[in-house]
Amino acid sequence: MTEDSLLSDEFIRQLTAVSEVDIVVGLPTLNDSDTVQRVVTAILVGLAKYCPRERSVLINPDGGSKDGSAEAVQAASMPDFRAVLVPNPLRTMHVVSTRYPGVQGESEALTMLFAAADLLGAKACVLISPDLESVTPEWIDALVRPVLKNGFDFVAPVYQRRRFDGMLVKNLLHPLIQTLYGHQVEEPVGREMAFSGKLAAYFLGDESRRENFPGLGAHVWMTTAAMAAGYRLCQSFLGPRVTASRRSGLDLNTTIQEVAGTLFRCMEIHQSYWISRDGCEEVPTFGFQPVLDLDAARIDRKRMFQMFGRGVNELGSVLEKIVSPETLRAITEISKQEEKHFLFPDDLWVKTVFEFAASYHHSVINRDHLLQALTPLYRGRVCSFILENARAGNEDVDRKLESLRQQYQQQKPYLIERWNRQA
């Protein structure tokens, strides 16, 4: 796609009418008509309540919904402000819907948002998912304020988590990104986020945007690209994240493909940045986090263990191409343990992840296959993590995660060595 055809003529016409704005809120939809109205209302109320003086526009790129999502967005664009104790907004609130051409993932929708933000000279862009059930107007404030008032370029969310939720983030994405990129962002695949207009323009101009990362991969790319380019990061507490959609039901394989795959790819793109980098920066966190112990997520540990065992047993021929013989031996060994005493130790897990990343880099086998081979091992790690922390309090879990992060940090030289080794 050429640069000048990013935006359709009709979309441009709508944007010209909106013209200069301070805030762009992006709400990409695809068959979300049952939830999106509430989300739109929350956004508009949030804008009216917390940004009454800022000029804002809600842009809704629709991926060709057949259930009238875009119409639902338009229909929800006149909420009853008085009913939620918010004075009528001072300004006209624009809600622009447009079709984006792609069918796969959000990449095209994001590109449109970057371009629109650039065109309108927006100071802040916010990204909100259309399938949220727990969104409140306060989210807008939490995401926008750090950009507009405190001069941050990228605001990652912090969600209130159930224990054992977000295992992929905690065991892989978060510590790996922190080790490589040196920023302690709790949710590197935050689906709600905000970024400055400056950063939107950078994303738009960045060569790697054209790779069209699949699904949530685009979010990983945004997070890491912002870090690698040295933008100011912070995070903001939003509360629990509850959604109504198929996204959460997306199977593990796809999730790993999209997220871990993109992270490995981003490691290639940003290798000149992370290989030489050392140390870690605190990322300021805004918002009040209530002390609230949510029920632990329900996870079928037995099934995960069984799938791990079978995976290791069956995939020997594939794994031997990816990981080192010692690692494979160690993994095979632990897969023979009894479930009750099963332990996938931190150092082995980190080593495995690093070897996968390096093998991905060297394309030792088809990259999709490589990521698929990671899935059973990850299952084993999750199972072990749950076993280890079954009786642990929140603080204990935090301590465990901290030591995992240190493990990542310690083995970084090993990663670099494998990474640079010729195939």
Partner: protein, 237 residues
């Protein structure tokens, strides 16, 4: 009698020595051609490899995404491949020239037959070679899909897919060089089914979310409620 024997022996000896005297130079020449051919082919190969590396030939392929395909099929880099292919082509043609130089009529017939068959042979080899690649790829895809779908005996599925795909390609290759024509038809029927099965398994298991997405998009409009089966794995993100 004795003389006759001697004469015939001598005659035989003479003819053998004659034969030898006539054949030896040819044999020598043939051997020299083959040897020299090997050396020349090696030199050409080395020069070519160096040139290709200097010309950053691999980069070109990287951009086209081909080198990833090669390495995922466990093959060397593109430059290396081309260098090796050229080596083998050169050397084989030197061998043929050498055999021809022997001047044995029957062999000459065979060689000319072989030369006329050579293009077909190369094509057949290529087909079988790609068959290996595809079979490897599909069997691995099936294996991984089966593992991740927690289905029983994934390795069996993988091997089955590999066997069936190989069968198809080998029979296609043999068909090329007009061997075992009868077998080919049957083998083709069998292998076609196998491929379809392999693809169905690979797509059905490995690509089930794609399939679901397609179906969903297709039917979302008329299907008001959208029930999601959530696996008992919590949310990983």
């Amino acid at each position: 009698m004795r003389e006759l024997v001697i004469t015939s022996l001598r005659g035989a000896l003479t003819s053998v020595s004659d034969l030898l005297a006539r054949a030896l130079p040819r044999l020598l020449a043939g051997a020299i051609i083959v040897l020299a051919g090997w050396v020349i082919a090696r030199i050409v190969e080395a020069i070519l490899r160096r040139l290709l590396v200097l010309a950053r030939f691999n980069r070109l392929f990287e951009r086209k995404g081909l080198s990833r395909a090669l390495s995922s099929a466990a093959l060397p880099s593109a430059a290396e491949m081309i260098a090796r292919i050229i080596f083998w082509l050169l050397w084989v043609s030197f061998i043929l020239v050498g055999v021809n130089a022997l001047g044995i009529v029957a062999l000459q017939q065979e060689v000319s037959d072989f030369v006329s068959l050579l293009p077909q042979f190369i094509v057949a080899l290529l087909i079988i070679f790609f068959g290996f690649l595809i079979a490897n790829f599909l069997s691995r895809a099936a294996l991984l899909a089966a593992v991740n779908a927690n289905s029983p005996s994934p390795r069996l599925v993988g091997s089955f897919v590999r066997f069936m795909v190989l069968l198809l390609f080998v029979s296609m290759g043999l068909e090329r060089i007009r061997l075992g024509r009868g077998v080919v038809l049957v083998a083709f029927a069998v292998s076609f089914g196998a491929i379809m099965l392999g693809l169905a398994i690979a797509f059905g298991l490995g690509g089930r979310h794609v399939a679901r997405r397609i179906l969903e998009r297709r039917f979302a409009a008329d299907n008001g409620e959208r029930r999601e089966e959530k696996d008992d794995e919590g949310s990983h993100l």
